[in-house]
Amino acid sequence: MTVVADHKKRVILRLAKPGDRFDVQVCSDGKFTLTRLEPVNPARLAKVRIEKRGQFHVGVLDHALNEEALKAALAEFP
């Protein structure tokens, strides 16, 4: 396939998805090699509020607990 750089030196890769990352190798013979990299998934840390219930402290998360994931993690432990 042929792609043409625009006035800002950008080319469009029709098969790439927004956010895809590539390693770019520029070879001495003028070839460019693009290698798609593993997606980076920066899972956001949960926000935790520590509350007192009676005389006991509990942690309260900013998201609902995923019961299936919890079961799976318990089954895998340790």
């Binding site: 520590i50 006991f56 509990v58 942690g59 998360l61 998201h63 607990l65 994931a69 919890l70 432990f77």
Partner: protein
């Protein structure tokens, strides 16, 4: 004549009870909280590590490590929990199945310390287990 009150029982907590008791959004939080009332609590490294590992697991709770540690420490203080060592040799526990190795070990460890294992897991066949229903 009033019956003699049952002696208070000491319980080693399974990882699933620790998670439910400490995380207020846990679906079994209320149950764990009520069950713990008036109970003497033991903690051991295995169950504490399980709590930390699952609480900070990206796919499950994804809590910051610092918060998970703080909550565990606060839980131990609030409940006046006694910390015991995992001082039972692995081969002194005799699980029958792969998936029961840790559960059985915790139940045996509890028994060794004159306690019972408190758990939500209904599948542990052991005389020293109390299942929270």
């Amino acid at each position: 004549m009033n019956p003699m009150p049952a002696p208070s029982q000491t319980h080693l907590l399974d990882v699933n009870v620790l998670l439910a008791a400490i995380w207020g959004n846990h679906p079994q939080h209320a149950k764990a909280f009520a069950w713990l009332s008036g109970k003497s609590v033991l903690l051991c490294p295995l169950s504490e590590l399980g709590f930390l590992r699952i609480s900070t697991n990206q796919r499950v709770i994804n809590a910051p490590m610092e918060k998970a540690r703080k909550l565990l420490d606060q839980f131990a203080k609030d409940r006046k929990a006694e910390r015991i060592a995992d001082d039972l040799a692995a081969l002194e526990s005799h699980p029958e199945k792969s998936e029961k190795v840790t559960d059985h070990y915790l139940a045996d460890l509890a028994a060794k310390h004159g306690a019972r294992l408190g758990t939500f897991d209904t599948s542990i066949a052991h005389a020293s287990v109390d299942v929270i229903l």
